[in-house]
Amino acid sequence: MSEELRAISVAEFFEKNRHLLGFDNPIRALLTSVKEAVDNSLDACESAKVLPEVLVQIKKISETRFRVIVEDNGPGLGRKDAPGAFAQLLYGSKFQIFGGKQSRGQQGIGISAAVLYSQLTTGLPARVITKQKGKPALVLELKIDVKTNTPTIVSESTIDWKKEHGTRVELEMEAKYVERKASVVEYIRETAIVNPHATITFIDPEGQKTQFKAIAEKLPKEPEFIKPHPHGIELGLLLRMLKETSARTINSFLITEFDKVGSGTSEEILKIAGLDPKIGPKFLTTEQADKLMKAMHGAKVMSPTTSCLVPIGDALLQKSLTEEFDLEFSHAVTRTPSVYRGMPFLIEVAIGYGSKELPQDQTVKIFRFANRVPLLYQQGACALTEAITAVDWKSYGLQQSGDNIPVGPAIIIVHMASVWAPFTSESKEAIAHYDEITKEAKLALQECGRALQLYVGKKQRKQLAEKKADMFKLYSIELAEAIAALTGAKQDEVEKKLVKLTDEMLKLGAIEEAGEKEAEEEKKPKRKLGAFKGEED
C-alpha cells in the first residue's frame, strides 16, 4: 500500500464515516470534540500521575460556529510528539500492541478527528499550547495534510505560560450548542461523577462557570497491560500476531504472546489443533490458523488476569454520586471481575434515591459508562439498559410497568470496565449483548435494589405512620365533640385523652390494619338479592 493511497483512505474514511465517528450533526460534533479532548487530557494526567485539573470552555463565535478550548495540567508534549498527537489520525502506539488494558482511548478515534473536523468545517488550524516541566511553552498551529495524513505546522512560537506544565487545545468548528440531554454540560457532569479524582471546570458560551471538584485525593491505580486471552482471540488478530511475532515456534508463540498459557496449555491447544509445536508461526496457512483459533477457544484455560481492570470503587462512586445529586439515599456495588469471550470486565452499579433533581413521576435517570466514559446516545440499544429493565424494580421500591424503565425519584449508574468493551457500532455508545455482561450487571443492580428497598420501605412506613397519626388526630377532634355531646363530658378533656391515646396506640403499634370483620364488609351481595322491584330501605 503506497503512502498516498493510505492517506486518501484515512481522509475518505473520516469523510464517509463521520456519522459513525460521532460527527454526524453539529450538536454531536461539538460534544464528540469535547469528549476526545477531555479523554486525552485525563489520560495524559493519569499516565503522568497528576491529579487532573481540566478546563473546558465553549466560546460562541456565531450561531453555527463555536470555539472549543480544553486545557489540562498534564505533563505536556515535546516538540517532536506534539504535531503527531494532534494532527495525525490513528497516531500513537495503541494500534500496534496486541492485548490491552482498560483505557478511555478505546472509545474514540482520537483528538485528531476533532482537529480534522474543525479544519474541514472552518479551514482554520488547531491552536495547541503545550508545556513540559522546566521548558518553555510551545504554541503550535496545526493542520492535517489529508492526502498524506501527516501534520502540517502552520506556525510555531513560544510564550510565557503561567502553568508549570500542561496542554491547551483550541478548535473552531461548525457546531450547535444545546443544554438538554446528551449535551456538553451533561457529558462533563457525568464524566466528573465517574472520575472523582479529577477537577473539571466548565465555562459555557454565556460565560457561566461550573466547577466539579475532585473528591478523591488519590489517582486510581494504573491499569496493567495484559496479553490477549486464548478464548477471546479472533482470526484477523491472530494472523497479524503470527506475522509479527518474534517467537520461533508456534509453541513459544502461544506461551509468550498469550495470557494464562503455559507449556501444558500450549501442548493441549496444539494437540486439539493437530499442529506440530515446532512449526514457525510465519509458516502457518490461514486454514491452520483457523484451526489454531478454534483450538484456543475450546481449550481449558484459566480465567484471564484481572489486574488490567481498575474499578472506581463502590465507596468512591457512592460518595461522588451522592454529592453531585444531593441524595437522600445511595448505594453502590463493585462486582469482582468476570469474563466474556476471554475478555476480563467488571461491572459497577450505583443507585441514588430522593433529590430535588429527581421527579417522583418520571422514569429514573440512567447514566451508563464504559471505562469511565459516559455513553450518551443509544440508551435503548445498550445491554446495560437491558439489564436495568430486566430487573423487577417493583419489589425494590420503584414503580415499573412490564419490562420498561422504572419510574421514581432515582438515578441508576452502570459502569463497565473492560480491556475491550464490546460496542454495538463504531459510534461506541451502546454495549453489545453478552449474557455474561447482562448477568453481572443484573446481579449488581439487584444488590443495589435490595438496599434501596430497605430504605424506601422504611421511608414509606414512616410516612404512612405520620399519615396515620394525622388521620387519627383529625378524626379525634370530631369524635371528641360527638362524645362530649352524647355523654356530657368536657370536649377538650376528651380531645386531650384521645391525643394521648393516639400517641400511645401509635407507639405500641397497636393500630389495627385491616380489622376484624366489620358490618360493612359484605354488604354488596345483599343488595343484589334484595334490591328488587324498588324495594325500599
Binding site: E478, I483, L486, K497, K517
Partner: protein, 371 residues
Amino acid sequence: MGAIKGKTKKEVLEALEQEAKQVLATINEMKNPKVKIPLRTLTNVYFDAKEKMIKLGDKTGARAFYNVNQAKKFMQTMLVAAQIKSLILQNSPTLDTRQLFYLLRGTMPHSDEDKFDDQDESDAIIEDVEVIIDALREELGLIAVPKGVIAGPLIVEDTVSGDIIDYTKMGAAGGAVPASVEPENFKFKKCTADYILVVEKYAVWNLLNQQRYWEKNNCILMTGKGQPARAERRLVARFEKELKIPIYVFCDMDVYGYYIYSVYKQGSINLAFFSEKAAAPSARYIGFNVDDYERFKLPKTARIKMAEDDMKRIKEVKAYDWFKSKEWQAELDKLAKFGYTIESDSLVAKSIDFTAKTYLPEKIKKKEWLD
C-alpha cells in the same frame, strides 16, 4: 288497643348515651374504643319459621376507632348519634335521611376532608345506628319517604298536631300514610273494619275506592303503590298487632306480586332487623293466582307472556325459605307452567265491576287464599 313495643324518645336518648359512655370509658382506660354492630349481611339473615318472619341473626361485627379502615366510620357513627340526640332534644320535626345528610355535612377542621362524602355514607351509618341501639329510624326521628294511601272506617289521632283523621272522609284521593306511623305520633282511636285489604297497585285501589268497596265491605283499603316503603309495612304490622283483624293482600299474578306480598308478611332481606316491627305474619294472599284464571274464565287478553327473567326469578323465589310451604311451591310451579302473568289491573277486561263485586267478595267468603 295495645301497641307494639317501640322505643320512646327517652329510651332512644338513653341508648345513644349509653353507647357513647361505653366508648368514653374505653378511651379513659386507654384502650381502643369499639362499638358492636349486628351484621346486616346475607349470612346473618335467616327465616324464623316459628315466628314466620325474616330475621337478623346474632352475629356482630366490631367497629374500632384505632383501625385504619374503620376510624372514619367510627367517627361518623358517633357524629350521627350526636346529631340524632340533638334533633330529639330540640324536639325537631322528623327529617328525611337526605336532610340529615345536609345537617352532617362539612369539612373537618384544618383539613379539606369532608366528614361525609355523600348521602350513601350517612345512610349506611344511620342503618348502623338503628341496629346498634335496636331502634327504628322512625324512633330516631328520621323518615323514609312514604307513598301509601288509605280509605276506610279508621280514626287516627296525629298526636303532634292533635288532628283527628277520619279515613272515611278522604274523598277520591284517600288519606296518605304519614312518614312516621309510630304509636307515639299516629295513634289509632277507633276502627270498626272487619278486615284490611292491601292492594299492590294504586290503579286498583283507585277503582275500588271510587266503587266505595271499603264502605260496602266494611274494611280498610290500602295500597303501598308497588313495593311498599317502611311506613306502609310498619302500618300493616300495627294493624295486625293492634286491631287483630284479618289482612288480605291482593297483587298481580306474577313472581313480583308474590314477593311484594311476602315483604308485607315476612319482611325483607334488606331490612331484616326491621321485620319484628314491620312484618305481619298473619297476612294472606287473596289473589290473583293461577287457578283463578280458569275458575273465573278470564279472557285471553288479560294475559301477558312471561319473559326469561321472570322464569329465572321464579326459581330464585322458590328457593327462599319463606316460600317453602307446599302451597307456595305448587303455586310457583303452576305459574311457571302457565307461562303468563296476569296483572290485577287486567281484571277490568272481564268487567269493570268484576274485582269489587265478584272476585274479592267471593274469594274472601270462600276463604280461598294462600298463606
